[in-house]
Amino acid sequence: MSHLLEVNDLEVKFGLRQGDLTAINGISFNLDKGERMGLVGESGAGKSVTGFAIINLISKPGFISGGRVIFNGQDLAALSEEAMREIRGNHISMIFQDPMMTLNPVLTIGTQMVETLQAHRRITRPEAEAIALEKLKKVQIPSPEKRLAQYPHEFSGGMRQRIVIAIALITDPEIIIADEPTTALDVTIQAEIMDLLQQLCESEDTGLILITHDLGVVSQVTEKIAVMYAGKIVESGLTDRVVNNPKHPYTQGLIKALPGSLQPGARLNQIPGMMPTLTDIPPGCAFNPRCPLCETICRNQEPPFIPVDHLTRMVACHMVKPDPSMGTR
């Protein structure tokens, strides 16, 4: 069965004077139509670079050095810039963290929405405006007719992010990549925006890749999850299962480090040390210096990313043994 989006062994490097720096080191995942997936990890884990790599937006000195991104049977990593423009924003759109940076401050919302549509379709301005209006209603902006003629600074942060979502949806894409869409927003606004995003993805059957550091948000919105550490996926599976029963020591540490899982006032479980910088990733498993289960093999040999149960769970750790019923591997 082929998936809507298949990322196979994707590798992204940044060419520096001292040599190439590997930002993404062979990651694989897939997304079906209407599926919502969370990509979580700490800063520098490579989540955002993965998002950019999917739509081939890695800018110099970065480049995709290996692997494939197959969308509807086409390899996006090998597509020409012109052909890519047909996909980007049309079939796959992206939402960024800061809505004020995404929107052009000197153009009205209406113009920006119409521009997006006209870039992808042969369509007259009145037709485009009608679609823009319909999308603004969908993201629940009050009095949308009036709002179309306004500039970004006339909106609040939450409203701006709604507009960004409306623009992302305007071409009816199959996949939305949302990179920390609510990190800049307050918690009550965040809850509204996440509800809206989830609801729209459900009603339009749009796939969602939600990039965030917030495990709480991911567990509310997504069906599956991939946890990244130092440029690799260390664990993936169904969100419920991974969050409630993490297998990789890093995922376990991350979840235990959240306040709220413990009695108030108790010491939090901390992961010692910090994530290695890309220039000095330790040999073997990248997590080994911080891992409580580390053994000799972890320092010498990179763990394979293998399925460990029948429920699509995959883990890259020497210490996690596959479910016995999985047979010998």
Binding site: T188, M194, I255, L258, P264, Q270
Partner: protein, 347 residues
């Protein structure tokens, strides 16, 4: 530290620190021409003020962790700075161990400054990039004890550095050589250098990753246990608040809505705004959020709504809420709520 302990006064009902009806407004009206308006054919002189903190009162007991929560723009950082005397309040009183500190001049404030320290949010912005860790850490000690010997200073720096988990042999390094989490440790060390009693921490872990955040929160809790510190913790992250606080104050548009012991606030929030805020926290493994939806948006603190500041967005609002400012009342054991609906037992 050797010098005299500042007035070991009774910590009576005023606690360690007390705010009484503190008001802080900022005049943003600009130059004369900006202040002139044409109204009904007449030229009028109008001032524009941001009403950041309005009539806030509370007491912090020694040794407790007192958290202030609220969304951006609710005045929590202004409250923190006003508490420390960085901003003079427009009216109201601030008492430290029963002594008024809001009307003191710089010289008179000095002994209090040593007892009250602050930790900031962004460890990249709060450390001077041109000073080594040693220079950053020794400055407050030398400033407050000019007679201290160089060896003593060095020993103190080393002791505090090891307490916060930064190797003392890195004292000669500059901030850019450290990661975000380590910089925040250095910021904490700077606050601890003068042996304070009271620390205001303004979003100390918001800029950090989850695994580092846990390290810093543990460090803050350890320092409190070892030194008997009192914290005023400003944050928007409610799960952090639930974990570390004894009491929590919820602010909305510069006003205190609710002040409760942390346990009862998170178990049974009383104020409608607190209820909405708590229901919006994304929790692990909790599927559909089902949060309380607030209508409308936060009004600006320039044109504060009349009556209860929350009435425009509150589902329980009635005509009285639009007219009359609700008073903060103790509804039961240590739970203080400012809401007409709670007072009238409508919720």
């Amino acid at each position: 530290m050797t010098t005299e302990q500042p007035n070991q006064m009774k910590t009576d009902e005023n606690g360690l620190l007390a705010l009484k009806q503190v008001v802080k407004h900022f005049d943003i009206s600009g130059g004369l021409l900006d202040r002139l308006r044409l109204e009904k054919g007449k030229l009028r002189h109008r001032r524009t003020t941001v009403k950041a903190v309005n009539n806030v009162s509370f007491t912090i007991a020694p040794g407790e962790t007192f958290s202030v929560v609220g969304e951006s723009g609710c005045g929590k950082s202004t409250l923190a700075r006003t508490t420390l005397g960085i901003y003079p309040p427009n009216s109201g009183r601030i008492l430290y161990r029963g002594e008024r500190i809001d009307n003191k001049n710089g010289q008179q404030m000095l002994p209090f400054r040593r007892k009250m320290q602050m930790i900031f949010q962004d460890p990249y912005a709060s450390l001077n990039p041109r000073k080594t860790v040693m220079q950053t850490l020794e400055e407050p000690v030398v400033f407050h004890n000019p007679s201290i010997s160089a060896d003593q200073v060095k020993d103190r720096v080393a002791a505090v550095m090891s307490q916060v988990g930064v190797d003392p042999k890195w004292a000669a390094r500059y901030p850019h050589e450290f990661s975000g989490g380590q910089r925040q440790r250095i910021s904490i060390a700077r606050a601890l250098m003068v042996d304070p009693e009271f620390i205001v921490a303004d979003e100390p872990v918001s800029a950090l990753d989850v695994s580092i955040q846990a390290q810093i929160l543990n460090l803050l809790m350890d320092a409190q246990a070892q030194r008997g510190l009192t914290y005023m913790f400003i944050t928007h992250d409610l799960s952090v608040v639930e974990h570390i606080s004894n009491r929590v104050a919820v602010m909305y548009l510069g006003t205190l809505c609710e002040l409760s012991p942390a346990k009862s606030l998170f178990e049974s929030p009383r104020h409608p705004y607190t209820q909405a805020l708590l229901s919006a926290i994304p929790k692990l493994g909790r599927k559909k959020s089902g949060h309380v939806k607030l209508k409308g948006e936060v009004p600006t603190p320039i044109n504060l709504p009349g009556g209860c500041v929350f009435h425009g967005r509150c589902i329980y609002a009635n005509p009285r809420c639009a007219e009359e400012v609700p008073e903060a009342r103790t509804v039961e054991n240590k739970v203080i709520v400012a809401c007409h609906a709670v007072e009238e037992a409508r919720i």
